[in-house]
């Protein structure tokens, strides 16, 4: 027998101000608060709690620094900062770490002075690194509980429908970021969500990236970020001959993989060579009359070009890389904004990465077991981000990593990577300027490549070539202290990053 809940008796007096607000409620009944301080106070934020941010403003972000400045002024301490990523522009956080405002960081990546300071041991607690999918899962599972999300948005209506652009209010597109994909999960799961916007637009702000139902307070601020740092006009194809050579080889791997067919799906990771692969696939697609069903992930202008040419039917956009991509999201019907859960959460069987045929990924280093490092440099210092690397490598049917054999005098195919970020088990093919190596576990791929006259090289041979040119690099010296914990997308620990010796 069903238990019947004891319903409270209906009382018309509980309907607030229905009659009185008839004329005025549009102005008064909204979520806009007078200042960031006020929003913070209302949110109930306390010392020791978790605050979150997104990184859609990339290196032009002013939200994180400004919010931290306010929190510092208000006397907050011991906060857990969970951002979808952090960049060079977040150098000021060093001061807030020193003063105890921030005591823990949770991010996809770190770059610049902040990364340098953390690698040198500035923090008591290690930084937790998560992939975009891993972060989504951690938030969904409750492992990462967000108390207050501070989410910057180029447009927001008075009730909280927020977006990275506006379709009908051009003013809001002065500072445009396109997709708010990584912020969606924060808004959905945070106990309180505060939108910081430079443009309050009329209700309803549709399409929205974040719906008003997930927003508690809105603060109008004059400055959310520097448009130049947020995005450039269009990511230009590289003209670097080495990167073009790698891209051409990668495109040949793709067209001879057996997965290149009408209706295939693909993702191009960031990085010159990886983005340039699109340019070399265009002609074979036209020649064979193939159309891709969708392109996924970070979307750049070059992918938009293929979409607008009719070569890629749909774009699933978790992050718009450039102005062209952001404008396409605004204007193109089949360019869809998606959340990090939709994109890559390992808790979501339907995650788009699981539908992906091919992904082309960059790397800092790859080792002879195909493990990939995208986090730490040859000096051991943190200088990158996991991004969707682990997620797409695990999900895609063919994961191709593109990397030059050498960067300057630094070998990029090594015996053992500094930091394991993506396990070799998920990497199928490595494309370098000195040859193509297939993971020996992928017998089928090796067979297909050979049948199609694609010349392969043993990855150990690549490592040897690198060593003959550079000599064996001296091992990096680390201290005992752990400054970073690298999680795999399932939440387990895949590696640790140690403090570097000065």
């Amino acid at each position: 027998m069903n238990k019947i809940k004891n319903f409270e008796a209906f009382n018309p007096d509980n309907i607030e101000n229905k009659i009185e607000s008839y004329i005025t409620h549009r102005i008064e009944n909204n979520k806009i608060v007078g200042s960031l301080e006020e929003a913070i106070k209302k949110s109930g934020l306390k010392d020791g709690m978790t605050i979150s941010f997104h990184h859609h403003f990339r290196n032009g972000d002013h939200i994180i620094n400004n919010v931290l400045k306010t929190l510092d002024r208000m006397g907050y301490k011991d906060l857990y900062l969970a951002s979808s990523s952090l960049n060079v522009c977040h150098e000021p956080l060093i001061e807030y770490i020193k003063s105890g405002v921030i005591t823990q960081i949770d991010t996809s990546g770190l770059r610049g002075p902040l990364a340098d300071a953390i690698s040198h041991g500035i923090m008591e607690n290690p930084v937790i690194f998560r992939s975009h999918g891993g972060r989504a899962a951690a938030i969904e599972s409750g492992e990462l509980k967000i108390d207050v999300a501070f989410l910057g948005a180029p447009s927001c209506d008075p009730l909280g429908n927020a977006n990275g652009y506006s379709r009908d209010d051009e003013r809001a597109n002065d500072v445009i970021c396109g997709s708010l994909g990584y912020a969606k999960i924060d808004a959905e799961f945070a106990k309180k969500t505060i939108i910081l916007t430079n443009h309050i637009v009329s209700y309803p702000n549709i399409p929205f990236g974040i719906p008003e139902s997930q927003v508690d307070y809105i603060v109008e601020v004059s400055d959310i970020g520097d448009p130049g740092g947020i995005m450039s006009g269009a990511t230009r194809f590289t003209t670097n001959p080495k990167e073009l050579l790698i891209a051409l080889s990668a495109s040949k791997v793709i067209t001879n993989s057996g997965l290149f067919r009408d209706g295939f799906s693909i993702q191009f990771g960031s990085g010159g060579a990886s983005l340039a692969v699109a340019q070399f696939l265009r002609q074979p697609m036209i020649d064979r009359n193939y159309r891709a069903r969708f392109a996924l992930g970070g979307i750049s202008g070059s992918i938009v070009d293929l979409h607008e040419e009719g070569l890629i039917e749909k774009l699933l956009d978790v992050q718009s890389f450039d102005l062209k991509a952001a404008n396409s999201l605004k204007n193109n019907r089949f360019h869809q904004q998606i959340s990090s859960t939709y994109y890559a959460s390992p808790m979501n069987l339907g995650a788009a990465v699981n539908q992906l045929d091919i992904v082309v990924l960059s790397a800092l280093e790859v080792d002879v077991n195909f493990n990939v490092n995208v986090l730490t440099g040859a000096d051991g210092i943190i200088r990158g981000a996991i991004g969707g690397h682990q997620d797409t490598a695990a999900g895609a049917r063919l994961a191709i990593v593109v990397v030059p054999l050498l960067r300057g005098r630094i070998p990029c195919v090594v015996e053992k990577v500094n930091t394991v970020v993506t396990p070799g088990k998920c990497v199928d093919v490595l494309v370098t300027d000195y040859g193509i190596a297939v993971n020996p576990a992928r017998k089928k791929i090796i067979k297909t490549m050979k049948e199609n006259h694609i010349k392969l090289i043993d990855i150990k041979e690549l490592q040897n070539i690198a060593i003959t040119m550079t000599g064996k690099p001296k091992a990096i010296e680390y201290k005992e202290k752990v400054v970073g914990v690298v999680t795999y997308r399932d939440g387990s620990k895949i590696d640790e990053i140690h403090q570097v010796v000065d």
Binding site: T239, P241, K242, L244, L245, L248, L406, G408, D433, Y434, H453, I465, T468, M469
Partner: protein, 300 residues
């Protein structure tokens, strides 16, 4: 085996990164430059970089050439002192005006070879023709030394000498190209065309490559790897050409058994020059790796 010289990539000798990585590009020849792309104060650096790179780096089976400085100011001799003992590179002499230039360079090379205990004649040479005198002397230049593997047109200096400038279509170079080609064929060496410097004009580049292929050139100097693919495409025999060549060679083998010198194939006469062309196509296809694949299919 036929030596293909379809693509000859210029690599500035003082650009360490380019010198180190030059081997990754699918070109037939690498031409490291010590001359015009290296400023005067960088000459020593470039010689050192090149010397070390050539010693350590495996450029696989690519032909290695170094464009040296002129011998008239002593710089060319220093270049040769650095390079010849390595025994790895051919020498491209710039601005060759007469056979005497080749003879002078050769005698300096010979001295070094003797001093180092190398077999005299090991070091191969190329000559770049970049002046009216050079063009008119192309025949004697091409025949000036057994070391010569080819002569090349250097158009920028030449058009200046001719009081003109380069144009699309290259009308101003038509005499020089023909002259150089005749001289090269007369001496049995390669004829290499000049660079095409507008990297963004891929269409203009393509039509120039098609033209020099039609003239009979063996290949072209290039300044950027982006130009490789077009040349390789135009200079590689097509599948159709390779199959036709296989047929011609087959039919002639049969004819020879019957003691015939001329036969008919698909209603067309096949005689000696046609067979020679067919053999050349097959030789090229062998080097490009096309033959193995097409032969399999052809004989199936």
């Amino acid at each position: 085996m036929t030596k293909l010289r379809r693509t000859m990539l210029f690599v500035p000798g003082n650009n360490t990164s380019m010198v180190v990585n030059a081997g990754i590009y699918p070109v037939d020849s690498l031409m490291f430059d010590l001359e015009d792309s290296v400023s005067l104060d960088q000459k020593d650096n470039a010689r050192f970089v090149l010397h070390e790179a050539l010693k350590t780096i495996n450029y696989q089976n690519k032909e290695l050439i170094v464009r040296i400085n002129s011998l008239s100011n002593g710089m060319g001799q220093t270049d040769l002192d650095y390079l010849i003992p390595l025994g790895k590179v051919a020498i491209r002499l710039p601005k060759t005006d007469s056979s005497q230039d080749i003879i002078d360079c050769e005698s300096y090379i010979e001295k070094i070879e003797k001093r180092c205990g190398m077999k005299v004649g090991t070091t191969k040479m190329m000559a770049a023709i970049e002046s009216a005198n050079g063009v008119l002397n192309a025949y004697s230049i091409a025949h000036a030394s057994k070391r010569l593997i080819g002569i090349a047109l250097g158009a920028e200096d030449l058009v200046t000498d001719l009081h003109t400038r380069r144009s699309p279509g290259g009308l101003e170079l038509s005499f020089a190209r023909s002259m150089i080609l005749m001289a090269a064929r007369s001496a049995g060496i390669s004829a290499i065309d000049t660079v095409f410097s507008d990297l963004n004009d891929m269409e203009g580049f393509r039509s120039e490559v098609e033209m020099i292929k039609q003239l009979g050139f063996d290949g072209k100097s290039i300044i950027n790897p982006r130009q490789i693919e077009t040349i390789v495409e135009i200079f590689s025999p097509t599948e159709k050409e390779i199959i036709a060549a296989l047929e011609i060679v087959d039919v002639m083998k049969e004819a020879a058994k019957m003691g015939k010198g001329v036969v008919s194939l698909h209603g067309k006469m096949v005689d000696k020059p046609i067979i020679e062309r067919a053999k050349r196509v097959l030789e090229t296809a062998k080097v490009t790796g096309q033959l193995a694949r097409i032969e399999d299919e052809y004989y199936e």
